[in-house]
């Protein structure tokens, strides 16, 4: 993802609402996708995303290094997702159905899309999180490490293991071929 303008982070922390709205606009889509991958629930992801932006708005003044905005937001989203998943009850409301329909109906290759999504969801959570942040959200290793609270080397290793398992489960290349 393209990092938000650092000047907007500084201005938003100082109370510039327009700057805050730009930050929201720059990150909301990525954040929602990240949350969907964590929660596997579009409606809950939306609820959590809104809650995250409220927390971001409240806590932005406490962020002192504006260059760390992206991992800071993703870490907040991750914590919020864990809070939510602990208390959630499984529900399939209209919004979730809309999301599911969007996922499947809009894809040029619905089967492939479902296959990839299913393969992702079969990964261990720590591997899936790392791959989503790096391979799909486009965070740097440093940002992902800050988000997950682990060393960069751990992120590199998890992303690699996630790819290996996906390559295997999608039958793109058998990992034990050598």
């Amino acid at each position: 993802m393209e990092s938000p303008d650092v000047a907007d982070v500084v201005a938003a922390a100082a109370g510039d609402i327009a700057a805050f709205e730009r930050l929201v606009h720059a990150t909301e889509g990525h954040l929602w996708r990240y949350l969907v991958h964590l929660l596997d629930d579009g409606a809950l992801a939306e609820d959590v995303r809104q809650e995250v932006f409220i927390r971001v708005h409240r806590k932005l003044p406490s962020l002192r290094d504006p260059n760390r905005f992206v991992p800071w937001v993703f870490a907040m989203a991750r914590n919020a997702a864990f809070d939510a998943s602990r208390s959630r009850r499984r529900r399939k409301d209209r919004l979730q159905l809309v999301v599911d329909e969007t996922r499947h109906a809009a894809s040029p290759d619905p089967h492939l899309e479902v296959e990839v999504a299913d393969a992702l969801m079969r990964l261990d959570q720590e591997l899936r999180e790392a791959l989503v942040l790096i391979g799909m959200m486009g965070l740097s290793y440093a940002e992902a490490a800050a988000t997950l609270g682990v060393p960069e080397g751990t992120v590199k290793s998890r992303v690699f293991r996630a790819r290996r398992q996906l390559v295997s489960s999608l039958e793109m290349e058998a990992p034990d071929a050598y």
Binding site: A14, G15, D16, I17, A18, F20, E21, V24, E28, W32, R33, V36, E46, D47, V48, R49, Q50, E51, F53, I54, H57, K59, P61, S62, R64, A75, N79, D83, A84, S87, R88, R89, D93, R94, V99, T102, R103, A106, S107, P108, L112, E113, V116, L120, I134, G135, M136, Y141, K156, S157, V159, F160, R163, R164, V167, L170, M172, E173, A177, Y178
Partner: protein
């Protein structure tokens, strides 16, 4: 190295190099040349990325989320002012000419707060220009408040829409001592209506800390505490009567008051420009708003904004009107049902070690407990109230960041406290921070700044200067900015500066959400324009440049490039501030 370990090593490096958009090492490339397994893995990496990206591209958020405090852009105009005066006169007869000054409003608010234990009122809202197919939207509802932090606002949309595709913009907001609930719709782009409206969403949070930011904006409906601390752009037009109650009529802008945000923060509302003019009738007894009218500003930047948003607002008629009547003062109860899916606000009520500070009479314990810092560490919080007024102390011994705990920006004002101690006041004067070797504290509240200072002085904390590597250490009060620097001379604004070599940065904070960032640094030319919205303007007897898209005014004066930026005030206000500047 065994072949499988070598492949593992090389494939890991391929994965990392792929993510870092660089070539792999020479050793890895040598291995790759001869290893078909690793070649296949390298190919699979690219294919996998494509498949993930393809799936990702079809995974789209269902709708645009408004920011927690949706705010807009705007501006003022003489014709609208005249229209507002006439409207006020027609409604109530010409009131007395104003003897009350804008800077005195906050004192009136403070005087009224201890006596206000609760209120109840009826609400009516008219919204015009939301969508071309819906001329006006009408709402009716109820406002109920119980001091100090329980509130319910319910609005029923009574609009007759063209057909059943359109969704009513009902809002049900309520919170009681840290439990927060809202059911509302979301904003959709006008062009996407009526099809894009999702089902109303419910957000429930259990356990917010006392006077959390989430509830402070709605509480402005009970009295614009934060909007009146500074008075830039607020004018008292007169005192008169409205529905048999004495009222003070003030004029400000949408950005100059949080009251409109209190109404429109939740739900799918039309947008307002920050400089649109707001007429507000404040109840003389409580300073609660009784009527609000919003008029379109008539500046070029507002017209640009309206064109881009598709609004055609009349100049003489308000496009947004809020009426609060049947005001009943007394004790009222607010109830909230969160349901089982409530998120955690992170605050738990427990006994804290925070002692009782020196407070004005009638302040009694409200809530206390703890919350956790994002990076770990406990923050104790204890609050008191005397009715509507409140004070809170938050304290932590685990603050590890290199800036003051609890202050919203590095632009702070150092304060000398008794016994050589030092405190730091936020730009909005609603927070005061103390830093010591083993404890960091912030005192906040809806009380006068003198009360915050009294509370700080009564605490047994040796407030000291922030370390030299903290950002606040470079910030100076406006009167300490290096001699020769151009400094604004305007009233109603808080001002603090930051000296960074030859660069000077000043932040002006005004009423409501008004703020202006002013930068000055040596230079003899402006950067090339980057957008289509630039225009030449006369400023300080020279030709400057204004970018309506970003709200930036800039000019060159005495070998210094001066740049003022704000999304909350008009060009006219920026020029007023610029013209007031004098070398310190």
């Amino acid at each position: 190295m065994p072949i499988d370990l070598m492949c593992e090593h090389v494939q890991l490096e391929l994965s990392i190099a792929h993510d870092e958009s660089r070539e792999s090492s020479p050793d890895a490339r040598v291995h790759l040349d001869t290893c078909q397994h690793c070649q296949r893995f390298a190919t699979a990496l690219v294919t996998l990325d494509q498949r993930l990206a393809r799936g990702e591209s079809h995974l789209s958020p269902p709708f645009r989320t408004p920011s927690p405090r949706t705010r807009r852009n705007w501006q003022p105009v003489a014709a609208a002012l005249l229209a507002g005066l006439i409207a006020g006169a027609l409604m109530s007869g010409f009131g007395r000419l104003a003897s009350l000054q804008a800077h005195e409003l906050r004192a009136l608010y403070d005087l009224a707060s201890p006596a206000l234990g609760g209120l109840s009122a009826d609400l009516r809202v008219v919204e015009r220009g939301w969508h071309p197919a819906v001329g006006e939207r009408h709402y009716r509802g109820k406002l109920t408040y119980s001091a100090p932090e329980s509130l319910a606002i319910s609005l029923i949309d009574e609009t007759v829409y063209p057909n059943s595709q359109w969704q009513a913009n009902n809002v049900d907001l309520r919170f009681v001592d840290g439990d927060f609930f809202v059911r509302s719709t979301l904003s959709c782009p006008v062009s996407a209506l009526p099809n894009c409206q999702p089902e109303p969403i419910v957000r429930a949070i259990a356990g917010l800390k006392p006077f959390d930011e989430t509830v402070l904006t709605p509480l402005e409906m009970i009295g614009p505490s934060r909007s009146l601390t500074w008075w830039s752009g607020i004018s008292v037009l007169g005192e008169t009567e409205l529905a048999s109650r004495s009222v003070i009529q003030v004029e400000t802008t949408v950005s100059g008051s949080d009251i409109l945000t209190a109404i429109t923060e939740h739900g799918g509302w039309r947008e307002m420009h920050p400089t649109d003019r707001a007429l507000i009738w404040l109840d003389r007894q409580t300073l609660a708003p009784l009527r609000i009218e919003v008029f379109a500003a008539r500046s070029p930047e507002r017209q640009l904004w309206a064109g881009r948003h598709g609004y055609q607002d009349p100049e003489r008629d308000p496009f947004f009107v809020v009426e609060i009547d049947s005001l009943d003062l007394g004790g009222f109860e607010v109830e909230v049902e969160l349901g089982t899916d409530a998120l955690s606000g992170g605050f738990s009520e427990v006994e804290t070690p925070i002692p009782m500070p020196s407070l004005p009479a009638d302040f009694a314990d409200h809530r206390q407990g703890q919350w956790l810092l994002p990076e770990g560490g406990i923050v104790w919080a204890r609050s008191w109230s005397d009715g509507r007024g409140w004070v809170m102390i938050e304290s932590t011994r685990e603050w590890r960041d290199s800036h003051l705990f609890g202050l919203p920006s590095p632009f702070v004002q150092p304060l000398a406290l008794p016994e050589g101690r030092i405190g730091y006041l936020s730009a909005d004067h609603n927070r005061l921070a103390l830093h010591s070797d083993d404890e960091d504290v912030v005192i906040s509240g809806s009380v006068p700044v003198e009360t915050l200072v009294t509370v700080a002085a009564s605490l047994d904390i040796q407030g000291q200067e922030v370390p030299a590597d903290w950002e606040e250490s470079d910030v100076v009060a406006a009167d300490s900015i290096p001699s020769g620097t151009l400094v604004p001379d305007v009233s109603g604004w808080s001002m603090a500066g930051l000296v960074d070599g030859e660069r000077r940065v000043m932040l002006l904070v005004g009423s409501g959400n008004q703020n202006v960032l002013l930068e000055a640094e040596p230079g003899d030319r402006l950067d090339s324009p980057t957008g289509p919205d630039f225009s030449e303007v006369e400023v300080r007897s020279t030709t400057g440049r204004y970018d309506a898209g970003t709200g930036t005014l800039e000019w060159i004066e005495g070998g210094v490039v001066v740049r003022m930026r704000s999304s909350s005030v008009s060009l006219e206000t920026l020029i007023e501030i610029a013209e007031s500047m004098k070398p310190r």
